[in-house]
């Protein structure tokens, strides 16, 4: 029986924009609009979706970097709303992050040793300068860097090596869950494979859970245990990877998966091409948020918002169609 490490219930995150100065009416970006999911210990949940779907905002709220507008987030049974800063720090020790751009997520004036040592010192994991240095050296070697990386600066490393440093920093305080926000998206193909393999190895070794936020469907299919598909601040479908990729239930999931170019010229697949663009999250469509681009939309979709419901094989999908997958 696996234990739920991270639990997110009915999460809403709105951002006010505009307004003020010239008396224009303030508007609201509905970045995340009622999202629920859990991540078990040792599991990878991927959140996929296109720009502006709210996947990174979910990551920010989970990390405690932005307060939720409504809804609850709890980690290891501790609800963020019930605790003060001191307890939050205890949560943050076990909850770490790797961002997309390894060029801007490290202080260029700090040596690698100090970058990786910082969480060890902050959270008081180990005491004593030399003990900390020893631990940092072990971590660097574990993520595949030479031990002499300690005394060098980030600019001396390539993109892939920098991402390894960021991973070492995330591991340092003994994380149970790492939020990977497009952690491999900026990397070249051959280096991306190195980092994906490293994350899988570390997960197996330390029993890490990953909240893997990405728009790279192929990498998600390779790495994730479960997948949540987001569109305009909502989860459209969530379920086991194998089922979701083999029989996508939601029309958006199907369109998203079929849009990914296959690296095999022999495959000429029929594409469920989506017309049009993403509507604005400032004024999301009424009813189902996907109805403006959905090839199967009917009257009800324009007025009535579908709730997530079980559609078989442990999947949940937010669609009015009875059996959207086989329709």
């Amino acid at each position: 029986m696996s234990t739920t490490l991270l639990d997110v219930r009915d999460l809403v995150k709105h951002y006010p924009v505009g307004g003020g100065l010239f008396g224009r009416r303030a508007e609201t970006v509905h970045a995340v609009d009622g999202v629920s999911f859990g991540v078990d210990a040792g599991e990878t949940l991927a959140i996929v979706g296109e720009s502006g779907c709210g996947k990174s905002t979910v990551g920010k709220v989970v990390l405690g970097l932005a307060p939720p507008t409504a809804g609850r987030v709890s980690f290891g049974g501790t609800d963020y709303a019930d605790i003060g800063a001191a307890d939050m720090k205890r949560v943050r020790r076990r909850l770490q992050v790797v961002f997309q751009d390894p060029f801007s997520s490290m202080n260029p004036r700090m040596k690698v040793r100090d970058i990786v040592a910082e969480p060890l010192e902050n959270f008081g994991v180990i005491d004593g300068r030399s003990a900390i240095t020893d631990r940092v050296r072990d971590l660097l070697v574990r993520v595949g860097l030479p031990a002499d990386a300690l005394n060098r600066f980030p600019h001396e490393f390539s993109g892939g090596q920098r991402q390894r440093i960021c991973i070492a920093r995330a591991l340092a305080p003994g994380a149970d869950l790492i939020v990977c926000d497009e952690a491999v998206s900026a990397l070249d193909v051959s280096v991306k494979a190195q980092i994906v393999n490293l994350l899988l190895d570390l997960q197996a070794e330390y029993g890490l859970a990953l909240l893997f936020i990405s728009h790279d469907i192929a990498v998600v299919e390779h790495m994730a245990h479960r997948v949540a598909v987001m569109y305009l601040g909502k989860i459209m479908e969530i379920g086991d990877r194998d089922v979701l990729f083999a029989q996508p239930a939601h029309p958006y999931t199907r369109a998203l998966l079929s849009a990914v170019p296959v690296p095999d010229p022999a495959v000429r697949r029929g594409r469920a091409a989506l017309a049009g663009d993403l509507p604005s999250p400032i004024d999301p469509p009424r009813g189902c948020r996907f109805h403006t681009r959905c090839p199967l939309a009917f009257d009800r979709c324009r007025v009535d918002e579908p709730a997530l419901r079980a559609v078989g094989s442990g999947r949940l999908a937010a669609c009015h169609l009875d059996q959207p997958a086989d329709a």
Binding site: D188, S190, A193, H222, L256, P261, A266
Partner: protein
């Protein structure tokens, strides 16, 4: 049939404070009329510098372009700037990765599409505007007559890329240089743009040089593929052969490193290419890939491999290309 564009021994070197960067170092390839040739490789392999060199959009100095770029009986590498201007946006169209920075934010979309038509084809304002409208319709922009007077910021990313394509094709170019045309776009929008480019190519018959790092996009669009590494061509073949019978260890490495849709399995590891790209400042002795190659032998570190034909239209720069089936 004579090739439409023929690049021979292209060298684009940049003088920098730290030394000469050999961004493109002896590249040869050709493009036939109406054909799509993809140039693939990772960051720093010289694929974008190749496209910019063909368009002569690199500043000289610090760059120095040497070699031949033959197009329509002329050598673009040696052409005067005025003559180059006549070609650019006219017989040679171009699309770049980021439509927001390639469009002028202060001019309407219609004006920007009409401008090259007026300049190169001598159409008057009214006729050029009609041509712009026709192009916007062709690239599938909804309500095109209204969009003519919109500014770039009023369009979404996908619409802007469509507008860029409309502008690039407005003068019926013989060849279109597309540098990562879908990389900045979301997948569903990328799928739209790929379909659009394929469809337009069928209708206009223009050739395309497609610069990309995405092997999925290559498989969907290209007829022939040139694989670049460290400024050099390491392999070339038709698209089916590249994917089924790659001969260069780098091409094999690239293909193995990409997760395939449908090949699920958290337990399977992706094939890695160890290490990273060599510096282009130090002169490369031997094969540029030797330091990362699983098959490298002594000869690879000593001598740069010559180009070897391994099949019709299929060649690789590897000492072991012939035997490695």
């Amino acid at each position: 049939m004579a090739a439409l564009l023929e690049v021979e021994n292209l060298r684009t070197h940049f003088a920098t404070r730290n030394g000469v960067v050999r961004a493109v170092d002896g590249l040869s390839f050709h493009v036939d009329a109406g054909e799509t040739v993809a140039i693939v490789g990772e960051s720093g392999c010289g694929k974008s510098v190749t496209s910019l060199s063909i368009l002569r959009l690199v500043d000289q100095p610090p760059a120095r372009i040497a070699g031949q770029i033959r197009f329509g009986g002329r050598n673009l590498a040696a052409l005067g700037e005025a003559e180059m201007r006549d070609l650019r946006g006219n017989e040679i169209g171009m699309i770049f990765q980021e439509p927001m920075t390639s469009l002028n934010p202060l001019l309407t979309i219609g004006r920007q599409i009409a401008e090259p038509v007026m300049l190169h084809q001598g159409l008057d304002r009214v006729a050029a505007r009609a041509r712009a409208l026709e192009m916007l319709t062709l690239v599938g922009i909804p309500a095109p007559e209204r969009r003519l007077d919109d500014y770039p910021h009023q369009l979404s990313g996908g619409m802007r890329q469509r507008a860029m394509i409309a502008m690039a094709l407005a003068c019926n170019p013989k060849i279109l240089v597309a540098d990562e045309p879908t990389t900045a776009l979301d997948v569903t929008i990328q799928a739209q743009i790929i379909d659009l480019m394929r469809d337009l190519q069928r209708r206009t018959g223009s050739a395309i040089i497609l610069i990309t790092h995405d092997l999925g996009v290559v498989a969907e669009m290209a007829a022939r593929v040139v694989v670049m590494y460290a400024g050099r061509k390491v392999e070339e073949a038709d698209v089916a052969t590249i994917f089924t019978d790659p001969r260069h260890p780098y091409t094999r490495g690239l293909l193995g490193a990409v997760p395939r849709p449908g090949s699920r399995g958290t337990n399977t590891r992706l094939a890695e290419i160890p290490g990273s790209v060599p510096s282009l400042i130090k002169p490369l002795v031997g094969c540029a890939f030797a330091g990362r190659c699983p098959k490298a032998g002594d000869i690879c570190r000593r001598a740069a491999p010559a180009w070897r034909e391994v099949g019709p239209g299929h060649g690789a720069a590897c000492h072991f290309a012939a035997g490695a089936a």
